[in-house]
Symmetry: C2
Subunit: 372 residues, 2 copies
């Protein structure tokens, strides 16, 4: 029932330590470190800088390992995440987001500029002017965001030059251009178009900057599905995040193998009172409700691959079983592979770190809830 | 476009203070206190005990006001929430959840029993025996959860007596029965059936307990849509939670009026680069992705009622506009009425408290992320 094409839940390697207080996210450190090495090696082989996105792990323990694997710095989405990174001694941070510097945010950004090498995004001449007013002389660099077809944020690629010129006129150093091929988050789409879309948009944007006399030293693309597909030559930097843990969505679209999934949620069966189903204590406040239309249910349960998580309440996951399927008993602890790992990490103060099914640590989610 | 039948977004009364650092949840304290009084008065008039659910506010500042309005205690969903309540000096707590007392949880529950008057749920004889083993002699009371048609957790009502007897045999004090008519969370359903379903199931369950020589002193129903519909005579206690703030879902199903909504998310327009839309900095990590099939989009924007939040990424809300609609400018701050307020409160460390558009405080979300 829940098996998606290409997703063999039985191949997931994370094993749960005994005696967990659930619900809790469990990270297999060996699988995670292999993911970190594999992405670093793939980018090194292509001569591309890997600037991993912090929005997925939100833990300094993970970011430090990514830097140790060769990355010069980290990507993040919010000023709050950048503050956590600065506190952790990570000195090169790109907030890959079109920031609007309100008075409160401008003060925080200026404070960050005194502590770290900071890069921020803009996607309009108005934002460039506003960021210039807030940060000129503070040492921040800006990158111009362009849209490669995801239709979320980002200017038209041909407008990158004028926006970069506005930033320069506002007293800012312009480092380059960036985009996000989010249209690659569906089966087949990264290979069919998203990786090419990113390159075409970035190529056009970099030429637009050059036409305005501003070289794009950094040409930055980024998403886990597209990172390893992007061709040599245009892109200088990739910003994938999810690859570090993987999740059900990435596995179903082929951006990771089920055996590369490094994070699961341990949950306890709390009720089998209603026939045909069992209920776990990991609800929407643990697993989050991310479910693209091409995924069935709110996560996969490797120990019960025929179960479908049909309903997710704040603290209940209702798992329906086909007739005749084996039903777990109240008190049983099962692993759930989340659809989307990023919001799951954000929903807990800490995670359990395991190696071969034995607990070896507990890591704080330093940037949990840092959404502003 | 986004207007749902019966939901006049323009009637929402929360006004945003100036200078907010977004995204941030803003509570109008006058509207909230009126909601607390109105529900307390409605329950008092019916002779029913109001035991408000803490899963919505998660703030001691709110729970204390609910107690001051006459409630003897609080409902919650997790041991972690109960620990926060105990720390706040709230001494009468019902964890309305079918707990499975693993070793870790049993120790936490025993510790709680030393600090507060604790009630917990069970929905099977096996759970009753397990809770008895963990807590017999510790002073906890149990209530038997029965299913009234929501098909989530809860035993068949006729089984309440045998389960209560198992609990008593395990050395536990049995306080009564409880249910949750979650099927009332859809337009018309609370009035059409859910409130009646709750009463019928509880009546049957209480009789089942009586048949086993165990009186059900507490007969507890609970949800915001059904609380004010439930008839006199059977129910002794109601456990609504969402009423304290209201949300778009409650307003659309008629369980609150738009003018009673006390909580909105303040968000900044960060991009208008893509035609036909604007993008807010409040994404899924702020608004959560709760969206029942009968709601269009991921929230309502009273200042732009024609906008539909069609896509929610971790830190972006894409708001689509019909042709000709007025589009806000980057830097503008707008209020968003969340579809479901409970996960929103859980996603921030604190909230801004306002009165008539002026900031009067900042409250910590004490039980944020307390999902175990």
């Amino acid at each position: 029932m829940s098996s998606e094409p290409g997703f063999d839940a039985g191949a997931v390697r994370v094993r749960l330590p005994d005696g967990l207080d659930t619900p809790v996210t469990v990270i297999d450190i060996d699988v995670m470190e292999a993911n970190i090495r594999a992405m670093a090696d793939a980018m090194t082989a292509r001569g591309v800088t890997l600037r991993p996105h912090f929005k997925t792990p939100k833990m300094a323990q993970v970011a430090r390992r990514q830097l140790a694997a060769g990355s010069p710095g980290v990507t993040c989405a919010t000023i709050g995440e950048a503050e956590v990174l600065a506190d952790a001694g990570i000195a090169d941070v790109f907030i890959a987001y079109p920031l609007w510097p309100s008075a409160a945010k401008a003060a925080r950004l200026r404070s960050l500029c005194e502590r770290i090498e900071l890069k921020v995004g803009v996607d309009s001449a108005a934002a460039a002017a506003a960021v210039g007013k807030a940060l000129a002389g503070a040492g921040a660099q800006v990158l111009v965001e362009v849209d490669c077809g995801n239709r979320r944020t980002g200017a038209a690629p041909a407008d990158a030059g004028p926006i970069a010129a506005a930033a320069a006129a506002a007293g800012l150093a312009v480092a380059g251009v960036f985009t996000h091929g989010g249209q690659g988050y569906a089966p087949g789409e990264a290979r069919r178009r998203a990786a090419r879309d990113e390159i075409a948009a970035l190529d056009r944007a970099a030429r637009s900057m050059a036409e305005h006399g501003l070289p794009a030293r950094t040409v930055s693309a980024g998403s886990t599905p597209t990172a390893v597909l992007s061709a040599r030559g245009v892109v200088t930097e990739e910003r994938p995040g999810t690859y570090v843990f993987g999740d059900r969505q990435q596995a179903v679209i082929g951006a990771c193998a089920p055996r590369d999934i490094a994070a699961v949620v341990a949950a306890t069966v709390v009720s089998t009172a209603v026939p045909g189903q069992f209920v776990l204590d990991a609800g929407a406040k643990t697993l989050a409700k991310d479910r693209p239309s091409w995924l069935t249910g709110h996560g996969a349960i490797p120990g019960h691959p025929e179960a479908v998580i049909t309903r997710l309440y704040d603290h209940h996951a209702v798992c329906e079983l086909p007739a005749g399927a084996r039903r777990p008993s109240p008190g049983d602890v099962v692993a759930v592979v989340p659809n989307h790992i990023c919001p799951v990490i954000n929903l807990a103060a800490d995670v359990v770190v395991a190696r071969a099914g034995a607990q070896v640590g507990r890591w704080t989610v330093d940037a949990r809830l840092c959404s502003r």
